[in-house]
Symmetry: none
Subunit: 195 residues, 4 copies
């Protein structure tokens, strides 16, 4: 009798709309109008499905994290998983989504400044870091909670985030592929340090 609900679908569309809008103008400048237009919806509908614009951003964080995790899960060996995680964060390889990677960085920037966003982003990063710890430990041949593994893991995370930030903010300062190579260097040095 009643209409079938399409809330799930619509919410996904709106989140995608934010991602598109953010990618080209940043979060603050991405107006609800922009989001709606990018999703092919009316502005009012955005607020029908999300209480506030901020709520869309939180949903986007969850979506991006899921997408990254999915790419890691799809890989089989630890080496492939490590590559997949890096590629997902740097935006290369199959399944690359430029808007998504740009959004991730812009979310980080917003997290710098908004408490609620920081909390959500931090949790997502910590979950990714945990995954990364295991992959790095496997590469180094040590336990996942080994201190060295965690340090390298954090450095890899920083390198990768910085690489994308610079690639977006100062494109001429980077060269394609340098991030992946940097990760290899970090791992190599850590290996060499081991007794």
């Amino acid at each position: 009798m009643a209409r079938p609900t399409n809330t799930h679908q619509r919410r996904a569309e709106i989140v995608e709309g934010l991602s598109q809008a953010m990618a080209s103008r940043g979060y603050r400048a991405a107006t609800v109008q922009h989001i709606a237009k990018a999703a092919g919806l009316s502005p009012g509908l955005v607020h029908y499905h999300f209480k506030t614009k901020g709520a869309v951003l939180l949903a986007l964080i969850a979506t991006l994290e899921d997408r990254i995790a999915a790419r890691v899960d799809a890989a089989v060996t630890p080496e492939d998983k490590l590559d997949a995680l890096i590629e997902a964060l740097v935006g290369r390889g199959p399944g690359a989504d430029d808007a998504a990677v740009r959004s991730w960085t812009l979310v980080a920037a917003e997290a710098t400044v908004d408490d609620e966003v920081r909390d959500a982003f931090e949790q997502a990063v910590l979950r990714l870091a945990e995954t990364l710890d295991g992959l790095v430990a496997s590469a180094l041949g040590c336990a996942p909670d080994d201190e060295a593994a965690r340090e390298v893991s954090a450095q890899v995370l920083a390198l990768v985030h910085g690489a994308f930030l610079l690639s977006a903010a100062a494109p001429k300062s980077i060269v394609p592929g340098f991030a992946a190579q940097g990760v290899r260097r970090l791992l190599a040095a850590a290996m060499a340090e081991r007794p």
Copy 2:
């Protein structure tokens, strides 16, 4: 007779005001009122000295770059200069200015999204990178335009930027000092690669 111009001083105060205001709220949310209040001035005066809010941001980029360069210049040996550059970007060591480092990251985020800011930020980064190239080359014992040196230099830059981004956006994901150690690892690995 005419009172001495204080334009230079005022502009510096306004730029510093933006840095303060940005540090706690980001560029977009830092209103001209906030800038003026942080500088102890009236809002109208901001526009007397700068045509637009964007112009203040461009001035801030120049100021931040100068400050970093000054810290590098103050160091004597190449090793010290390298440390100084890293510390300046990560916000540690003497002369550390939390607002300045936060501002630098937030400028990077804005550069991601605003063409004019990107141009200015990119130029600044390229100049810093050039300096860094030399320091890295010196550490590796090769020519400054050696490809390996430039790659490592870019990786260092990425690592450092990422470290600060994460320290601000997901503080729990990082550990103090991990960035400096990461830089050492990158250099060590690069050394090891050399024939």
Copy 3:
């Protein structure tokens, strides 16, 4: 065969929903969503049964008036009827309905400002006043259209409405029971004035 119409029931539920919603937020802030939720219905259904939100308010006025009249009718002697009327308007006694009394005052407030509501509210008040005229006249022992009776009646009405308005808007300014006593005073004074 055709399913039995439940329109009557539904309309009553919606009107009651408005009363509930108004009681806690006022008429303007009571959204159709609130009304529907309070009635346990969907928003669309409100507009299926009522053309506009204003139409629900008009129906509420009629309902409230009926309810007051019913309490008066249920009483037997003129004295009891008078008490019943006052208690109904002040919201005490058996059958008291806090939401209903609050709604009545809020309807009065809306009547102050909306022509259509004023017309409906005025008619209802005039009918109640007519009843009250008779009861007061009976108490005073004079004809229902005696000028003194009508004046006292109007004063009683004003006292009672003001009592409830203040009890809702400035609760600390009133004491329970003071309104009923005030009515007695008005009647006593009027009695004393008679030759």
Copy 4:
């Protein structure tokens, strides 16, 4: 050097604008646009001088209370003061301001529904009630904190508020002057009750 401040004057104009706008449409329907237009100002300026629309309402409460108190103060004998207070609340006599009296009732209605407004309105009513206590006590020839005096005072307040509410919401139900006579009746009855 700087411009002389006109904040005080502007705030008063805005408050008066709200009073005008409210008088004809109620508080909720009085938009900031309406307020600004009634005051001959631009909408943005309203928010330059008041943080929110609600803040203007709070300022209006204070203004209305002051105005009433001023009329009472201007009278000399207690009898005159009592008359002045009643006339001020019912909106008759010299200094009558229809918009102000309508606003007072509409403020009461809003107080019914908004906590912050209720607090402010309640305080204002309590201060007026205290004044009224004294005047009634003087009329009855008893102490101002005599219980009877306070009861009568509250009844007078209720009668007067109700009278105005009805005069605005159901004009046909009232007759000019009935409120003042009602007050006299309340006082007369209270006198008669005294031993």
